[in-house]
Amino acid sequence: MLDTIIGLAGDNLLSPIILFFVLGLVAAFLRSDLSIPEAVAKGMSIYLLFAIGYKGGVSVSDHGIDQSLLTTLAAGIVLSFMIPIVAFGLLQVMTNLSRTDAAAVAGHYGSISIVTFVAATSVLQSQGIASEGYMVAIAAAMEAPAILSALWLVSRGAKPTEEEAQEREGLLREILLNGSIVLLVGSFLIGFITGKDGLAEIESFIISPFKGVLCLFLLDMGLVAGRGLRNSRGVLTVGLISFGVLMPVIGSIFGLLVSMLIGLSLGGTVLMMTLSASASYIAVPAAMRVALPEANPSIYLTMSLGVTFPFNLTLGIPLYLTLATLVGN
């Protein structure tokens, strides 16, 4: 088994995608001024969401709506609600973060990172493993619930002040309608409606260049993660780093159990494990700035983007694939 992980991890580590991420990290550590303009980075992330949403929808329209879609959706939402509670407990044991900081960090791990999801899809693809097309929709559904868990964790016992209540007002709407979710779900639905015929029309935009765009996007992620790590040297303790590596593995095991329970395919299981293992660095941080401004953003951004994201990208995904294969047999 170790052989398989190492083999997979080796293949994975030498893929252009990972190497460009590493290039970004290195450039950031060397304090190069290399940078991708904000608008271009945002444009690339819009492209990625558009492409994976659409492809997911086409795949569902192609294979017919699987009965398990709703079950999986519910399972994903439950995972997103529960994982923060586990994470919070673990943080209180492993680190000495304040309640607020711990709740904020925990919220990130219940939510998901769509780029980690895409990277897992691309590993599955290169191994020729199929997966349920609707996993994209599950990804969208898992973005938000964790935020509510985080808020609940922090305010257990204490009632929010009037101002806090006011700030959270509208927050739920904002979270559910945040750009990534709307674009992902919308593209999924359009892919579902237009099916293979629609895909044929825009295939050479959303399929052929996809990997290349992903390389550039991961270059940018590497730059951002590297600069984040460099600016927050004081923040990372041994406890936090350990948590950042341990928590995704724990999350993935929850994902594995749930997948077995609802009977996902091998590919679907790997994706569900990856979703459970990954931590948000877009939707949740923005929500935390509004709802928990006292929580220190350096901590949660460094954890999710600087520790857990690289771990999942390099070692995590091959590990989850190996685990799922072992359990599947």
Binding site: E38, D220, N231
Partner: protein, 103 residues
């Protein structure tokens, strides 16, 4: 040319709070405001730069509001409620405006 006294309030605030701040300003009866982009900055919570920022969470904006002197306090109170728990800077400068009837 004829100018009139007014106050120029500049509020530097996190981007995710922009909507809430401008909503509060409007609720406080402000007649207008202007939002400028911010590239980066440094403060007690460290240094950040927009370039290569994956997350909206770190970005900031500057909201400028020209207002008559007598309405300054209402504005500051409304702004302060929003800014209070958040990082950000509020400055007020004396200024003169053309076309004072607009404010």
């Amino acid at each position: 040319m004829e100018t009139n006294k007014a106050k120029r309030v500049e509020i530097i605030i996190e981007a995710p709070m922009e909507e809430r701040l401008t909503g509060a300003l409007e609720a406080a009866g402000v007649t207008g405001f202007t939002v400028l982009p911010v590239l980066g900055g440094s403060g007690r919570s460290g240094r950040w730069s927009r370039e290569g920022q994956v997350s909206r969470a770190g970005g900031m904006v500057a909201v400028i509001c020209i207002i008559r002197e007598e309405r300054l306090d209402t504005l500051l109170e409304a702004a302060f409620k929003v800014v209070k728990r958040h990082i950000g800077v509020v400055t007020v400068t004396d200024c003169e405006v053309l076309r004072a009837e607009r404010f």
